[in-house]
Amino acid sequence: MEKAPLLEMRNIKKDFNGNQVLSDINITLREGEVIGLCGENGAGKSTLMKILFGADVIRETGGYGGDILINNEKVSFQSPFDAIAAGIGMVHQEFSLIPGFKATENILLNRESKKKSILSDLFSDRLDTLDRNEMNRIAQEAIQQMGVNIDKDMVINDMPVGHKQFTEIARELSKKQLKILILDEPTAVLTEKEAEALLDSIRGMSKRGIAVIFITHRLGEILSVCDRVVTMRDGYVVNETPASETSIPEITSWMVGRDVADTGSSYVTEDIGKDKRTILSIKKLWVDMPGETVRNVNLDVREGEILGIGGLAGQGKLGIPKGIMGLCNAGGEINFDGQDIPLNDPRKCLDASFAFVAEDRRNVGLLLDESLEWNVSFPAMQVQDKYLKKYFGGLIKWRDDEAIKKVTAKYIDELKVKCTSTKQKARELSGGNQQKICLAKAFALNPKLLFVSEPTRGIDVGAKALVLDALKKLNKEQGVTIVMVSSELEELRQTCDRIAIVSGGKVSGILPAGEKLEKFGELMLMNC
């Protein structure tokens, strides 16, 4: 007889205020098995995992239907603590780290190694002192298991996103009782190389008998590490197949429910815009962005082009737009269309018709507790006095809720955002859909120059083309100059005219998008 599976989810159902997001989900998982969970944005992947992990939101919104069995025993987790005790670990789509703490402290939060002292003998173990050496050792070990190099003493705020991600994973890895690990889009912020390291450590875990549920929109990764692929669509499991028997196009068609025509991406192979005029010139830019320091960037952006900025994590590519837009302390010279733009003043950039989509949507990207309407319209309203009705000669600027609703509806439609209404809170959207709202917010500004960092972070394969096409369309039809920063080289190559590679806080070279991959690889490693 076959051994009972490690985890069994039976007929899981979930609705949020009558909005059915999961229906009759059945999933089984065996020891050491790696399953890939894929599906469009808003298909219900994160929600399903939150149910398994006993997340508070689920209970607060009325619980779920169906049963979860671990080793054939029914469990019902009241909180994530119960789930952790049962051997479940989860790396969330959005980070759940404590900002002011060091990596080590985050990794071992609540499980710190302790030393007895006289006080704790006398009173309670709450007075134990921390055994820092032991903690450092465990943290170091967990970090090494992942095969990456992160500083265990670095404070979370100072880390680049990729390192935050690894810290989260290390936190889960260092748990001894870990039996099931849930990874919700852990690679979305990683470069291919880092992602590869992560995939290796997933393979290692599986060898040690840990079962892994791996959610990603990069389907190639699923094929390369998973044993089984589970595809979800609109809250149903529509397919379950061994990974060895399927292919990316096949999974995509299951996800979307139809065949997705290959867009037949063509690359720009030559430097075609030599004669275009320089619209933005960046000279001697330095940016003090923690974990993504920019040291000395000189870069000319041509009018009407899409310039890609690539490079390994931590080399400074994300710092460039952050610094120019005044969100991180910066120095140097920025000249736009013949005008000097002062640094460290976001307002001046916005007044010069710049717009920016930041890579961390949770921190600067969104008003999580406000409606989608507010999120989309706010910058345009504040900077350009759009969506306002003026009375008494502009003395009173009254919010025009009608106009706001209209523009929000327009972008929701254009970017196919999955939501119940324009009044829904941003917090309630799935990760990918939140990302689309961030883009809509920037589009509403009608910028002349648009910076986008990681525009397709957490966006599914179908919608990715949609988002990239929206960027291209904006560029073609309205002549918007776009500077796009991304860790996915392939995405840059398909979208951009030229790609600048940043390494060691400097631009190590600029190549036409269609240049051979090795050339990019060389540039990436140049100043490291």
Partner: protein, 354 residues
């Protein structure tokens, strides 16, 4: 058919959830007291007039909480600072010899510059210590009251209606407003039906300010204020000067507190100096929390509901209890109830999701 019923039930359930269980209980308790009062022999119309009157006295002080909550500065425990501005306006107006309703207008006008200046300093301070606003606010409230305790004695006031009779200088702890602006608002269009008195003017004045606040929150700057409270980083990236918006909210709150105390005094009939401002902040904080506001979300509805519930319970409980046990314990009971409410309100989960 069956489905229809279900949705109706769901609707009621979701409405009730929206209103919140604690508020439901408190409302139930208040209704119970209202039903009980005629049974134990208290006059219902008098009781209701009492609640309405107290609402009209306190409403604006509770309203003063709104701007700072919206801008993310939290609950304004520094309310005494605004109250002190109001008191300065009140005493100066009397000192300068204004009388009758005019003295109210003059008090408000004279209080305004103090509120603006003190509010700016307070706002500057709060901008220096982002994250610990409420603690600093409490200290500001505390120290400003202590500071003014000395000043009330030392400032060169001379009006015989205000200074200690014997010494001829130094302000008294309570100053009667008879002949000045007592009932200045309340008597405007006042409605009297038997034992029921409605201070129409004072209610209208509250409505005016509440409408002003509601309208402000619908303007560009008001929208920015809410966004700053919701996510300051987002607001900054949208080109908002976060410190400036916070400053505006603190000044607004301080000014509303100054006007609020004047309205309170016109209803109460006395100006109370020295330690009195100190005891005004907590009831206002509690009222808005009971009204359903959180540390970073508050609406005009929260103000209205909260003030009615808080003042209702605080006035009704002692009366009903006294009539039941025929023993005058009103002060004791009032203290127990009001502090109990404050404690309850503060322990409630007030930290909205951030």
């Amino acid at each position: 058919m069956n489905e229809q019923k279900l949705t109706l039930k769901d609707l009621i359930k979701s409405k009730a959830q929206e209103f919140g269980l604690p508020r439901l209980i408190i409302t139930g308790f208040l209704l119970l007291l209202l039903v009980l009062s005629p049974i134990v022999g208290a006059d219902l119309p008098t009781q209701i007039s009492n609640i309405i009157n107290r609402f009209s006295w306190n409403g604006i002080l509770v309203l003063a909480m709104v701007p700072m909550i919206h801008s993310g500065c939290g609950l304004n425990f520094g309310l005494p600072l605004g109250i002190i501005s109001g008191l300065l306006g009140a005493t100066l107006s009397i000192e300068f010899g204004f009388e009758g309703p005019v003295s109210f207008i003059m008090a408000a006008l004279l209080a305004t510059p103090f509120a603006l200046v003190l509010g700016s300093v307070y706002g500057w301070l709060l901008n220096k210590i982002k994250g610990g606003e409420m603690m600093i606010a409490t200290y500001v409230g505390f120290s400003s009251v202590s500071m003014m305790c000395m000043m009330w004695l030392l400032l060169p006031y001379h009006s015989p209606n205000m200074v200690w009779g014997m010494a001829g200088k130094g302000l008294r702890t309570t100053i009667s407003l008879e002949g000045y602006y007592t009932q200045a608002l309340a008597s405007f269009l006042q409605i009297n039906i038997g034992n029921l008195t409605i201070p129409t003017g004072a209610l209208l004045f509250f409505a005016l300010l509440a409408f002003g606040m509601w309208a402000f929150l619908h303007t560009k700057t008001g929208t920015a204020m809410t966004a700053v409270g919701s996510n300051p980083d987002f607001a900054r990236s949208a080109g908002i000067n976060v410190d400036k918006i916070r400053m505006i909210s603190v000044v607004m709150s301080t000014w509303l507190a100054a006007i609020g105390i004047l309205v309170y005094e016109q209803g109460f009939g006395f100006v109370q100096l020295y330690m009195a401002p100190f005891y005004m902040a907590l009831p206002a904080v509690s009222a808005i929390l009971i009204g359903g506001a959180t540390v970073n979300k508050a609406s005009i509805m929260n103000v209205v509901i909260g003030t009615i519930l808080f003042q209702g319970i605080v006035t009704m409980t002692p009366t009903v209890m006294n009539n039941m046990i025929h023993l005058d314990m009103s002060e004791v009971i009032r203290i127990i109830v009001s502090n109990g409410m404050i404690l309850y309100a503060l322990t409630r989960k007030t930290e909205g999701t951030r």
